[in-house]
Symmetry: C2
């Protein structure tokens, strides 16, 4: 992207979205943010809003006419569609949520982008679309997977529509299959849950599963550098990239780090089983050689990422103790 290109970011007030807005502004792009603040945080956009190159639209992506209007007014060069229900768990309790906030909203954003002549469409998918793969580390072209969660099913549906739009309407698609992302403004996931629980009761801790689930986590800075690398260097019609570190780590490893930072030694009560919840993948480890071939390298180890995240949350206790965030972390 050249300086003064215009980027539109959906989910702009979310964890990844707000960090991306700051990042793109530092790269001298004009940045248009959209968020409905259902889970996004106004304070995360304080830095972006100090820039004259940033503009925010408070709008709900389920309102197709409204977002078509925004896209037609703004005519961005590239869209980063990050807005979604961000929690892979609980799809079974609200089985329509991922359809509505994921699949249908993604179609709306694609339609708005098409209507406004947008040529580049970037999308935050997930390594969860690999389900429970047989190949580790898992490459982008691993055997056709089987979905295990409604969250991943919705992300896969989004990928598929973007691919069809790219084929049919001459857009260029950038699909990022993330591992879990950590770092400043992180507001949900296992580090969040553990710290929240330990703040309430440092003597004991419920751990979903057996604690041996092997997972990969990437620091938000490494994530943003990867996105920037891909949108500037990948030149296919459809560009699908895994984003993750070279290592994996267990839930117990993260817990060791968190307990050490908090200075607590709770009795760990494991709910048991290989999986933390129905649809959880007991092993996530992505092959990122395709991304590395573009020159990207990760700079944070997983446990450094966990440390940075824990410190951010301890420095921002309002994110943990508010009712809103208790709901998020349920």
């Amino acid at each position: 992207m050249s300086a003064s290109s215009k980027a539109l970011v959906t989910g702009a007030a979310g964890f990844i979205g707000s960090n991306l807005c700051d990042y793109l502004l530092e790269k001298n792009l004009q940045v248009i943010g959209i968020d409905n603040f259902s889970t996004g945080q106004k304070e995360f956009l304080q830095k972006s809003e100090r820039s004259s190159c940033f503009r925010l639209h408070e709008s709900d992506l389920s309102n197709l006419d409204q977002i078509k209007g925004i896209f037609l007014d703004e005519k961005p060069d590239i869209v980063f569609h990050l807005a979604a229900n961000a929690d892979v768990r609980f799809g079974l309790e609200y089985p329509r949520r991922d359809l509505e906030q994921g699949t249908i909203v993604t179609h709306n954003v694609l339609e708005a982008a098409r209507t406004a002549g947008v040529k580049k469409f970037a999308y935050s998918s997930t390594g969860s679309v690999y389900g429970e793969p047989n190949v580790f580390p898992t490459p982008e072209d691993c055997p056709f997977p089987i979905q295990t969660s409604l969250y991943a099913a919705s992300k896969l549906a989004g990928e598929a529509m973007i691919q069809a739009y790219a084929e049919g309407f001459g857009m260029q698609g950038f699909i990022f299959r993330f591992v879990s992302i950590l770092g400043p403004r992180y507001t949900h996931g296992h580090v969040f849950d553990f710290i929240q629980k330990l703040k309430l009761d440092p003597s004991q801790l419920e751990v979903l599963g057996d604690g041996k689930q092997k997972k990969a986590y990437l620091h938000i800075e490494d994530c943003l550098n990867a996105i920037w690398t891909v949108i500037n260097k990948a030149d296919q019609k459809i560009n699908i990239y895994n984003l993750g570190p070279d290592e994996f780590s267990t839930v117990n490893d993260s817990l060791d780090t968190i307990e050490s930072i908090l200075g607590v030694s709770p009795i760990r009560k494991y709910s048991g089983g290989e999986r933390g919840w129905v649809g959880d993948s007991p092993f996530i480890f992505l092959d990122c050689s395709k991304l590395k071939s573009l020159g990207w390298e990760s700079t944070y180890s997983i446990q450094d990422g966990v440390k940075a995240t824990a410190k951010f949350l301890l420095d921002n206790p309002q994110l943990i103790i508010t009712g809103q965030n208790k709901d998020l972390a349920k």
Copy 2:
């Protein structure tokens, strides 16, 4: 399925749906049909409606409350979800159609099935979910494909939701990736289009693409036997099966057969290019060894299927000349 099991068929008045209703009734099942008759034909259900074991609900699957009521009243043992926009073309002209008639409707049917405690869910997907694969014949576990049409994107979204429901709610899923199906009650596709055009003008014929597209077609009888084999013999949580013949054939081969039956020799005017339309796959040939391992074999050659289909259409000219079907065939 044991005799007296109850099957619910969506899209019951369609080509495959109506044939499936007849087939299941012959197997002594109770059959509940649902159709909104947007493209289904009442006459296709005449045979089923003579059976006391058949009941039809005229209902639209986009009305979730209504179909939940039907499912709760009927409490079927197995659902065959066939209803969808059936035409892989024109997704780009109506970019929301496959989302609404495919993805969202499939979610509604899954929700109705879950609410009613249905334990088996069968789904008509498509070989088009393989996009433009690199492996021929293409097996079910070929490399993670890239979608080229909104039709296939919607079918993939349906597959993914069924997989997540099977994982989360203890259903058993049967996913059939069909090639194009031919035979009695066939009302759209290349054989239909060619005959319709040749009836209007036997002196010349527009052919989409270069006529060399390699495609596979399966006769409806072979298709129904395959479905019956799988639902009775496959015992995994998720059962994904390709359905197709051992051969492929070109569009020109089909045209030779059709011209011979009609006794015409039109000048063929090719629109040119490897693909008939944007998102068309120039080569479809599925590896069905997984299905064959259950004991199934096809009995019709492709060109015998084309002949049977052409004869059916010539015997039922009302399907070709009605305004409704002209719309279907557009």
